[in-house]
Symmetry: C2
Subunit: 443 residues, 2 copies
Amino acid sequence: MAERKRVVILGGGFAGLHAALGLAKLTVDVTIVDRRNHHTFQPLLYQVALAVLSPANIAQPIRAIMRKHRNVEVLMDEATGFDTTASRVHLQSGTQLVYDYLIVATGSTHSYFGHDEWATLAPGLKTIEDAIEIRRRVLLAFELAERQMLETGVHPALDFIVIGGGPTGVELAGAISDIAKLYMKRDFRHIDPSKARVIILEGSPHILGMYPEDLQKKALDQLHALGVEIRTSAHVSDIQPGYVMVGEEKITAMVTLWAAGVQASPLGKLLGVEMDRRGCVLVDAQLNPAGHKEIFICGDLAHVMQDGKQVPGVAQPAMQMGDHTARMIAQDIAGKPRTDFHYFDKGDMATIGRKAAVAKITWPFKAHLSGFPAWLTWLVVHIFFLIGFRNRISVFREWAWTYLTFKDGVRLITGSHELPGWEAKHGLEVPNPADEPKTSNAP
Amino acid sequence: MAERKRVVILGGGFAGLHAALGLAKLTVDVTIVDRRNHHTFQPLLYQVALAVLSPANIAQPIRAIMRKHRNVEVLMDEATGFDTTASRVHLQSGTQLVYDYLIVATGSTHSYFGHDEWATLAPGLKTIEDAIEIRRRVLLAFELAERQMLETGVHPALDFIVIGGGPTGVELAGAISDIAKLYMKRDFRHIDPSKARVIILEGSPHILGMYPEDLQKKALDQLHALGVEIRTSAHVSDIQPGYVMVGEEKITAMVTLWAAGVQASPLGKLLGVEMDRRGCVLVDAQLNPAGHKEIFICGDLAHVMQDGKQVPGVAQPAMQMGDHTARMIAQDIAGKPRTDFHYFDKGDMATIGRKAAVAKITWPFKAHLSGFPAWLTWLVVHIFFLIGFRNRISVFREWAWTYLTFKDGVRLITGSHELPGWEAKHGLEVPNPADEPKTSNAP
């Protein structure tokens, strides 16, 4: 009998988990390595950032997901190098893992286009920590404005800038507008949160670039209905505490969020294989980099061409690549030939606030939906794909509660009570306060 | 008609909230100032620390609690000084609040008995942030041990030290033992989490000092049944990364937690009134510091004597002091005389793991309970006192799910992946690793 094959999977995102769940049924030994202890359901991360869901609703320990699969082990660690000749992965802890098959699915992270100093001024949304930080900043903005109003009778404008008009940017902007107008307005006595201004800055001429024109138009209409301002062909030249520069124009911002660029995880570079300019690994139709049929690249890290276009870096293709890779390893073991990966696109969707969305559906029927029907579709699909029955019911319950009752969600501010640029902005916006501070505490 | 009285409440804990809810019914203007945006239900904080509940289950924005009460406003700010002659509170933001009545209920914080350098080595449990930090450390200990085991074939002992044998210490110790033995053991392939050792170090001769002797004995028995080791009259002389010194003895610790001392918030000092050595404000039977009938001190910050004993700094008396203060202000407005505060002690309870507890009940009947009946009592009382209907059902559901299914709770590790002393301990415990790292990834 042949020795059991050893499969090492780097990354516990959609691609890595789907590969692992496929391999769990085979007589192979699988090790999943992730630097976090949990899988994050990224499509709902913006709902944690905007205080609708709790982190535990959309994240689950990878160990817990894999508990029943005794041939799968999980290691909280990080790959730091490869020896592809000896088929070894070097981990940060010092451990080396030997593999017969290596699946690299470490995804992508924010790209600030060479301006790494923008990271603290305009956080992006990739991890639970990011989501908690965005939640903190958005909620804190209202608190600081209320405080300022009480002290001086004026407050800086409640301006929120979202840089990037892709699905994440649109979802963040719609959700901020919702929170401000529907939820926060009842809670403050001195400021009017419904006067919050949400601005999307998109560098290209269109938001939701990958969507068909009619849906882009619908999305624009729905965003306008929520009061979100959209500026396209707006190139951000600088981000500073309290404002963003678009060309020569200075746009004030109490909170700035980043939803513009992503870059691949650096593992492609460590592997020493061919990459595109964003660091994605160029792979063949079977997801292997040149010369390495034992290495599979899956998810956002893979640069896969199909019908002349690059397969997008979103959840669906990642899951399908993971599934495909597990099947190919099964084919190898069974002595059958491998087949090409083919991305089966069922469609795309993005929500806009609490009851609208746009959806391009390509399977099981073709349709362009918008408004409430698109939102309902989004809801069903996202509940269906949440891994773990418990998460499904808990998310559904949280949504039902929050959407039906307008109740509180999880509006906790944790961590620091500082907002970048608050002091500067405070000086900028507020006319000279009188020497003697006002006293005022009458509601 | 007399002008509306202005009441400023400092602190949104049990005392402050109860005072505010009482005052909300009167024709007075109330301002609650808290440096956090949320009220924390502290008796359940240890369940967040041990990954049973999510932060949002036990914390709620103070604004949301007060939403319906239009005469109450909430300010996220912090008192930095007082001018009791002009009846003003100075806030960090620069705002000054004028009061007719001032209620100071800013509670207590950890005391490291002059060793502030211990704070990062042995976190205490007072805030949501503390709870998330403890959760991070406890969960990370198992992950790092697994990683170490895979690399070298040995791992540092899974030793958890809880300093302090009061209710919080007992609850933390019982819960760590539970997580390790019931939940974690199924999730690791290389280490045996059930071998985790939990040690309570208590400086006095008895744990749960305020409980009657028979319940102390029962608590000891229940802790022993869970495998928790208890060392009484154990004076901690030093805490270092990786170990704790008790006199000359060095006790290794992968994680050290602090549940030993508390000190009052520094506001007593700022008020310039008489205090005890822990910084609690000495008040008369009507909760006023000497010479200030317009100032009430409530909750942990108040040093109140009753029947020759100090009223303990726990939730029940805090709530009662808040209620009493609101009533006294109502009496003043009605032109009626004030009455003395009288703490009505209904009993005390502390849980020990997932199905045991000790309870000293003094109302509506007198009883000493232990084991499962005490635990059931604890459950009912704590659900009943959770502020907010939503929290009540969400906590009950989380408990039911976790307790009945042994499922995952919320075992997310967020933040840094470092553990103080891990490197040192790793060097301490692990025999010289071979020059060539072992390779091992067979489950």
